[in-house]
Symmetry: C2
Subunit: 272 residues, 2 copies
Amino acid sequence: MAKAKSVLQVMRVGKNAGKLSKRPTEATDGVDGKKDARARLGELTDELSTLQYALYAEAKTALLVVFQAMDTGGKDGVIRKVFGPINPQGVRVTSFKQPSQIELAHDYLWRIHGAVPPKGVIGIFNRSHYEDVLIRRVHHMDPDAVINQRYEQINEFEKYLTQNNVVIVKFFLHISKDEQKSRLQARLDKPDKRWKFEKGDLAERAFWDDYQAAYGMMLSRCSTSYAPWYAIPADKKWYRDWAVASILVDTLRRIGPRIPEPKEDLNALTIE
Amino acid sequence: MAKAKSVLQVMRVGKNAGKLSKRPTEATDGVDGKKDARARLGELTDELSTLQYALYAEAKTALLVVFQAMDTGGKDGVIRKVFGPINPQGVRVTSFKQPSQIELAHDYLWRIHGAVPPKGVIGIFNRSHYEDVLIRRVHHMDPDAVINQRYEQINEFEKYLTQNNVVIVKFFLHISKDEQKSRLQARLDKPDKRWKFEKGDLAERAFWDDYQAAYGMMLSRCSTSYAPWYAIPADKKWYRDWAVASILVDTLRRIGPRIPEPKEDLNALTIE
């Protein structure tokens, strides 16, 4: 575990984030191939289930898990694999799509705040407020000055949440441009995936470099001590799932939820 | 399957519901013991996963699943067992607890309507609007005339939903008074369950007969052709899980969701 831990530590984005292009999209460090990774994922999700039960019973802390990635990056897949085995009552997934008219009429954190999980619950964001410094930056949908303000606004918002019992962990699923190509091709080729395909996906792919720059800035400006970003090498799905599950188990262990004592003295109770 | 189907049909509450006390809390019809029931549950949840994927892809219909039961009746357990294996992105559980001040300031269906699942999603209600004709009837929290109006209001509300692409199926998990006793005792005895125990649970148990009468009235007044109630014999957990999963698979098959064709002509597309 000591070795695995240091492997995971490398994925945590620190103060001097450096270039995104220097970060690997492929890695095998910490596991012994696919079979080992899958076996250990099973152990990790068992532990996640146990920790989730205690988190729910204690009801003192919420866990907010943010996923961001390029299209086909694996957000849906990792959510299914890592959170699938957990009691659905304790997990709440919010997928942020293009904002509605009502959402656009509010400040950009309004819809986000409404979806923050309550104490005892694991909230999962499939996309998030970071879209407001990603797609909106790449396509110049807001003035640069407005977007540049957001990094600090987001940091303050996340700090406020962590000061109020919401633990935050953020995952950027990092894939290569080649890997995206083969996954888009697979969507075209697999009959039960074709419905997902839109030509717009290809149009976005043409902005690959701009997106990488926007992700890089997001990581270096918004990975904080209280709400860290992890850049997960995500070309190999089994590695991605193992890494995300490992970091979540580590995060929940540090929260250390404990099943509480009964609210009342239950001794000498008789059930009629 | 023919036999199993007729077994399940018996659980569906019809026009002449009859006395709740005539309905079994224990049954084994349709399965060959626990081992068989558990094996078939695995097959059923596999099929549920496949159907859920198509429901999500098609995004034309929502499925709303309502669970009501006496305390310890198994709502949490059945949700974990039947929906646990399904992609958490397509499932949304709402647990209705004692209404908040804000909720009480609105009509009783207001918080319910807000939690109705969107198209493509399976929404699960752990308790529901039926609390307004159960606990509120048993403890005379509203005048009888007000409560008596609600059955029809609920039927109209559910009819409206089903006319607007929300398919509704409702499960009453039916346990015996003896079974509740042994489950409450187990909560007292198991260290990791004791935190759940409240003396108030015993106070409610004293109203057993009043609750059975209120459940009976709910079943006979609100099991409609468009939003049926099923009374599930729930003393045996493995039977309960099999029955609920079977009825859900049957319901989803009748919805018959199909993965849609691609939105655009994808032929001759090249990914650069």
